[in-house]
């Protein structure tokens, strides 16, 4: 019990150390860019997410999709798979949700957005199914199939949006009907600054709920145990009677569904953003990777790291008021992730320090007895 606690503590400590390093580098970059305003800019980054309720609402709003794609990466990781297909799954989900949102207006108000979410989960799952099947039955590396599925998804969604949901004036998809927009849960009354409300909605609660569900599934069920067994050693799991092919396929399908829901939660927010026609893969899809890595693939950790990355993003928006380039936030994020990769090293150092302390403690205690 105590050991577990110690491990959690050193994981947290190494994450915090990485964050401090990242912020320090950010401060240096700010000084290089414009030393006169560096401290103001830095203050904006650190406090931007909490200066008012609306900004904090925005933190939660931007966190929603990246928590979902982060959970997606984290879930696949439990089975030893690297799901780099987030962008494709995310986009497939986004399209399915917006399609249902725009076209299926015959659905009653309370049901419409739920059906849209389910459609997104299904589309994302389909995009995860292909790499899963190919990994399980043809032993094709999931990284390459995921990359291919990303571009197939991108072009497919571009095509379908243009043919079915095109909003010519804004060069993006049309807006979902009001009944398909996610309920605000009164957040638009609470997270406000002056008269402008934040775009946050029920989505963040759903994302958090998904994190909790994933924690239970992975850690407390037989299914989760089998997935992890496959992740540690596919052959051993098979020998122990686990249907390893099924586990691999299901793992990718669920990961895909999570990323798909992420796409839905972002585009059903009613904030006026449509699916853009672009040749670039969605950043929210790729951002699942750093979020999952920073959260150490732990579901609850992913929820927090998603909120943290989003907090930096909102802080970065405040920082721009002082004339700094928004890319500084990406630099900070990358440095934090880079140092988070040193976790093992930090852990060793912390562990060594603690051991020394304990040894000293033991010696002192002995000395006291004498």
């Amino acid at each position: 019990m105590k050991k577990q606690k110690n491990r959690d503590f050193s994981a947290l400590a190494s994450s915090l150390a990485a964050i401090v390093c990242g912020l320090l580098v950010g401060l240096i970059v700010l000084f290089i860019a414009d030393s006169g305003k560096a401290m103001q800019g830095f203050g904006a980054i650190v406090t931007g997410g909490i200066v008012n309720r609306k900004n904090f609402g925005q933190v939660l709003y931007y966190a929603t999709p990246i928590i979902m794609t982060g959970l997606s990466v984290g879930f696949a990781n439990k089975t030893g798979l690297f799901n780099i297909g987030g962008p494709g799954q995310y986009l497939a989900g986004a399209f399915a949700a917006v399609y249902v949102g725009v076209k299926w207006t015959f659905l009653p108000a309370g049901l419409h957005w739920i059906v849209a979410l389910l459609a997104a989960a299904l589309a994302g799952a389909l995009w995860g199914l292909v790499p899963g099947l190919m990994k399980a039955y043809s032993n094709v590396n999931e990284v390459i199939t995921c990359i291919m599925m990303n571009y197939i998804g991108l072009n497919m969604v571009n095509l379908l949006v243009r043919q079915l949901l095109f909003d010519q004036a804004r060069n993006q998809s049309r807006q979902p009907a009001a009944t398909a927009v996610l309920p605000k849960m009164g957040f638009d009354k609470f997270f406000v600054a002056g008269a402008t409300p934040s775009s946050v909605n029920i989505g963040i609660l759903l994302a958090m709920l998904m994190g909790v569900v994933m924690y239970i599934v992975v850690n407390k069920t037989k299914f989760g145990y089998e997935l992890k067994a496959c992740g540690y050693n596919r052959d051993a799991a098979k020998y122990a009677g686990v249907d390893e092919k099924r586990s691999i396929v299901l793992s990718m399908v669920i990961a895909g569904a999570l990323a798909g829901i992420g796409g839905a939660l972002y585009y059903l927010s009613g904030a006026g953003t449509g699916i853009p026609l672009t040749d670039e893969l969605a950043a929210e899809g790729f951002n699942g990777i750093p979020v999952a890595l920073l959260g150490m693939s732990h579901p609850i950790g992913i929820v927090f790291s998603g909120i943290f990355i989003s907090y930096l993003k909102v802080g970065g928006q405040s920082m721009q008021a002082f004339g700094f380039a928004p890319q500084i936030i990406d630099i900070i994020t990358s440095v934090i992730i880079y140092f988070a990769a040193f976790a093992l090293f930090f852990k060793l150092v912390i562990g060594r320090m603690r051991r020394r302390k304990e040894e000293n403690g033991v010696i002192k205690a002995k000395g006291g007895e004498e």
Partner: protein
């Protein structure tokens, strides 16, 4: 028309080839290099900025050759970060690679803005060779391989041959591969695993840097902090090519050919007449790769110790 397609194909295939070969060196030494995309961005940025600054003062081809060296040096420098994390710090290699992928575009936009105010770096494309002397006049082969080309095409082919020679015909190559397959065994016969892995990652940094520059030059006239996901495609080509140089070349040519078809279909009246939307054509390379993989994937030849930090103390 065929000539045109082959010439176009080289613009796509050569950078993929160079970068995938870069990945090959890193992964064969046992270090996963998902940072190829980011390294390409850094290499392209340094090379293009060098061209932007020196163009006019120096003649065309020497500028390009020097820019390639600059790109290689910059790629090596940034890959040092990856090597340090992966080898000395025993970090999760995917994490440090991802960090570089996020860092690179942000960093080059930031630096470009500091240097010149805007993030795009323009350059004049004066590097195209209309026809290579003598060789370009050979019938069939001339127009196919020696007209409308870039010196980088031949550099790419040279890198392929040298990579194969180095990996399979030298002591260094044998040792590098041993470190990727079974580092403990390599160590037991006196090979310095850390050094070999550093070499693998640094070579991959240099090649990915060159690849970034080579990708941007024929396809654009300004650099806008992106290589359009080619680093990830190169990773796919590397896996597709089963971590073997000649198969990688085959995969890069296949992919480049498919990509070219999807790009030039609008010049073929028959295909335009079918009225199929452009997005369908754009999907072809990826779908074709998936189908091919489904039939050829069974045997994977990934280096055994790939992605596992080497710890002298563990057995």
């Amino acid at each position: 028309m065929l000539y045109f397609i082959i010439q176009q194909m080289m613009y796509f295939s050569i950078p993929l080839l160079i970068v995938a070969l870069g990945g090959l060196f890193s992964e064969r030494s046992g270090v996963v290099n998902i940072a190829l995309e980011g390294i390409m961005v850094i290499g392209a940025f340094s090379g293009i900025y060098f061209i932007n600054q020196t163009q006019g003062a120096l003649p065309g081809q020497p500028v390009l050759l020097l820019a390639i060296l600059v790109a290689a040096a910059a790629g090596m420098l940034i890959s040092l970060l990856h090597a340090y994390a992966a080898i000395n710090m025993k970090a999760d290699q995917v994490i440090s690679g991802t960090a570089i992928n996020i860092f690179a575009p942000a960093f080059v936009i930031f630096v470009a803005r500091m240097l010149q105010g805007v993030q795009q770096i323009p350059f004049v494309n004066q590097f195209r060779i209309n026809s290579v002397p003598v060789l370009g006049d050979i019938p069939v082969i001339g127009p196919l391989l020696f007209q409308n080309t870039y010196i980088t095409t031949y550099i790419g082919v040279g890198i392929l041959v040298i990579s194969w020679l180095v990996l399979y015909k030298t002591r260094f190559g044998l040792r590098l591969r041993a470190c990727g397959e079974h580092p403990q065994a390599a160590d037991s016969v006196g090979i310095n695993v850390y050094k070999m892995r550093y070499a693998g990652v640094l070579i991959s940094g240099a090649l990915a840097g060159i690849g970034g520059l080579v990708f941007v030059i024929p396809t654009s006239t300004n650099f806008n902090a992106t290589v359009s996901g080619y680093g990830f495609l190169a990773l796919a080509v590397l896996i597709f090519g089963q971590w073997k140089p000649w198969r990688i070349a085959g995969a890069a040519l296949f992919f480049g050919f498919m990509k070219t078809l999807s790009a030039v279909y609008s010049g073929i009246p028959f295909l335009v007449g079918l009225g199929i939307p452009s997005n369908i054509y754009k999907m072809i390379p990826y779908v074709a790769t998936l189908i091919l993989l489904a039939f050829t994937g069974k045997t994977s030849c990934a280096p055994k110790a790939e992605g596992i930090p080497y710890d002298k103390g563990s057995r």
